[in-house]
């Protein structure tokens, strides 16, 4: 990969860009002289009051993106290239203390993991801890604030929940408390990493509604990360990620209706097939609807990463790496089939 070859940035300078990620490259050291590249020159932007969806199957680098944005990558990860700018400030050159003050107050994260609450502390206190770290006030005042956010998140019986320990709550309640932690300081950017995984559909819709509301009331920008296209219906714009690269980006409707990249197409097909009720007689077992497996992140292949699995693969695909090609002003895809068109 030629590091000097800067790709055409999708993120055209628009005033009011809240987050701008440029050529972000992250690799993990797995052993001596053994590295795997998780993100390859990823670039995108998130504007104020925008919900951006990030779609991709597991292992494609979604969570790494989320962690990189929070500057919470594990110790063996290394950002070898690129920049992350929040409001024009580069997060990568920021001191740890300033980053800490940023986390939770300016940007916050909701994890996919269901065990993000300390089992030894009361739930209310854990939310209060976040508030105390960023906006300390009188305890009673903070408690009122927490009660109101609980109410806003649809948690009934706030008093009981406030005093409860995590193991006394249901999965949905726990998730809501985790979201309350993320939202309590009214951050400008919320990164939601699979916020609805392992929840039933009712809870899922509830939580997605909350995100929409949040955007409407507080102008909060949200980066919604999921492997499930259905979850991302709440988004305005969609980024599709495959093997550490953004392979397609564009407004939600356009991408859903006219997917440009063969991977997106396959992914959406799986999803619709899955969503289809069994009475259509379609085999619901076809979980592995995209044949093959994603490439080994430790190997550097000369061609397109998706080519081995691609249904309309050309010979050139194995030897040439595609760039992001603009399809329309806001829609672009990383596939060689558009090269001819250009």
């Amino acid at each position: 990969m030629d590091p000097n070859r800067h790709e055409v940035s999708l993120a055209r300078p628009i005033d009011g860009n809240l987050l701008r990620v440029c050529n972000l490259t992250v690799s993990y050291r797995l052993g001596p002289a053994y590295e795997s590249t998780a993100l390859k020159q990823v670039s995108f932007t998130v504007n104020c009051a925008e919900i951006v969806g990030l779609l991709g199957e597991s292992g494609c680098g979604k969570s790494t993106t989320a962690l990189a944005l929070m500057q919470m990558l594990p110790a063996n990860a290394r950002i070898s290239m690129g920049s992350i700018q929040l409001d024009g400030c580069n997060l990568l050159s920021m001191k740890e203390d300033r980053l800490r003050r940023l986390r939770g107050s300016e940007t916050s994260i909701v994890y996919q993991d269901s065990e993000t609450l300390n089992p030894m502390m009361r739930v209310g206190n854990q939310v209060m801890e976040v508030l105390r770290a960023h906006k300390p006030a009188k305890t009673a005042q903070m408690r009122d604030e927490i009660y109101s956010i609980f109410a806003a998140l649809g948690l009934k019986d706030c008093d009981r929940i406030y005093r409860a320990f995590p193991h006394q709550l249901s999965g949905g309640q726990r998730r809501r408390v985790a979201i309350a932690q993320a939202l309590i300081c009214k951050p400008r950017l919320v990164i939601a990493d699979e916020p609805t995984s392992s929840l039933d559909s009712e809870a899922t819709t509830g939580i997605l509604d909350i995100f929409r509301q949040l955007r409407a009331t507080h102008n909060t920008a949200i980066l919604l990360i999921s492997h499930d296209p259905e979850t991302l219906r709440a988004a305005d714009r969609l980024l599709v990620m495959y093997a550490g690269e953004i392979v397609e980006s564009g407004p939600l409707n356009e991408v859903f209706e006219h997917p440009a990249h063969p991977y997106t197409r396959a992914l959406l097909q799986c999803s619709t097939r899955q969503a289809a009720p069994p009475m259509f007689g379609v085999n619901r077992h076809s979980l592995a609807c995209i044949p093959g497996e994603p490439p080994d992140p430790c190997e550097v292949l000369p061609g397109c990463g998706f080519s081995p699995r691609c249904s309309n693969r050309a010979e050139i695909c194995d030897s040439l790496r595609p760039r992001l090609f603009e399809i329309s002003g806001v829609h672009s895809a990383r596939c060689l089939q558009y090269e001819a068109r250009e």
Binding site: P32, G59, T64
Partner: protein, 341 residues
């Protein structure tokens, strides 16, 4: 890259210590029991590269000692004896099997070389240190293996099955923790037949310490087994029909791995030191067989510690040896690297 070199550095230093201990017959210049009663408490020999006329020689030499009153010696610089390498000396058995009389270094007859000085009887401390290491390390490892073996066995049984096995095992463990093992040792030592080979008697004794010591690791392992039993993946594996032995082998024990390693690392030096304590009470391995324990126990006589500093050299050597053990073990501990999805 740095990690690798550090680990190999530690390994190299441990090898450097263990090779002479394993091949102590070759490395030790003298027999461990050989007494030189005219050379009691001789300080470490000075090694000279010059002779009395200040002429430089490539071959190092030691000078003969002359006794001037108790514990006072002076070197006779006119009588220097070169150090020979790979010299024939007193016979010994390598690994207890191969007969040999080859020594790595030594000096000719009237002179003696004492790298770490001599003890009360004029025995070479360096030779005793090497031979003593065989016994001490063996007993330390043996006792650790025993107590950990029992501890892990009973701990997992108690933690995994819960219920009455748990109750019974843990009550007995508490009993063992509460009891001072001192007089158990008195009882056992006093009952052993006197004609038992000294090293064998001591190994037996250490086995007793090891067996008595099972309670602490058992408690720790039980705690882990208890929580690991509740983990989702273990429950899932059980639902899939995993047998108990499979679950314990594949899930519970790997969970306890870190604790077991930590315990082993803590226990080995502790049991070697248990030998020191026993020797302090005079219940260690009998004279003239050397062990680090009975060599260090002379240090515990205050005046010896103050007057004959060289007897502390083996003790001082032990500290870095054990430290490198501990450091190596903490390097070996599984470092959970989070690789996200």
């Amino acid at each position: 890259m740095r990690l690798l070199s550090k680990k190999s550095l530690l390994l190299m230093s441990l090898v450097a210590i263990h090779v002479p201990i394993l091949f102590s017959g070759l490395f030790a210049p003298y027999d461990v029991a050989e007494q030189n009663r005219d050379f009691s408490f001789v300080p470490p020999s000075r090694i000279h590269f010059t002779d009395a006329h200040r002429t430089l020689h490539l071959r190092p030499s030691v000078c003969s000692l002359e006794n001037s009153g108790f514990g006072q010696y002076h070197e006779n610089r006119d009588r220097c004896f070169p150090i020979h390498f790979l010299i024939m000396g007193s016979p010994y058995l390598l690994f207890g099997v191969f007969k040999s009389n080859l020594h790595l270094f030594g000096v000719e007859a009237p002179a003696k070389i004492f790298l770490m000085g001599t003890d009360l009887y004029g025995r070479d401390v360096f030779s005793r240190f090497l031979y003593g290491g065989q016994l001490s390390l063996l007993t330390g490892i043996l006792a650790t293996a025993l107590s950990l073996g029992f501890g892990v066995l009973f701990g997992t049984l108690a933690g995994y099955y819960g219920g009455w096995p748990d109750a019974v095992i843990m009550r007995i463990a508490e009993l063992f923790l509460a009891l001072p093992w001192l007089y158990l040792l008195f009882a056992v030592r006093a009952f052993l037949p006197l004609n038992l080979n000294a090293a064998a008697a001591f190994c037996l004794l250490v086995s007793v310490i090891g067996i008595v010591g099972w309670a602490r690791p058992a408690r720790l392992v039980r705690g882990i087994a208890l929580s690991s039993r509740e983990r989702h993946y273990v429950l899932a594996a059980r639902l899939f029909g995993g047998s108990d032995s499979y679950l314990i082998r594949r899930h519970v024990l790997p969970d306890a791995y870190a604790v077991i390693i930590t315990q082993a690392v803590l226990l080995i030096p502790q049991y070697v030191l248990a030998e020191v304590t026993l020797s302090f009470l005079g219940l260690g391995v009998g004279e003239p067989t050397p062990s680090w324990g009975n060599m260090l126990s002379t240090l515990q006589q205050y005046q010896v510690l103050v007057s004959y500093w060289w007897l502390a050299i083996p003790g001082a050597v032990l500290v870095p040896v054990f430290c490198s053990y501990l450091l190596l073990a903490s390097e070996l501990q599984p470092r959970r690297t989070a690789i996200d999805a």
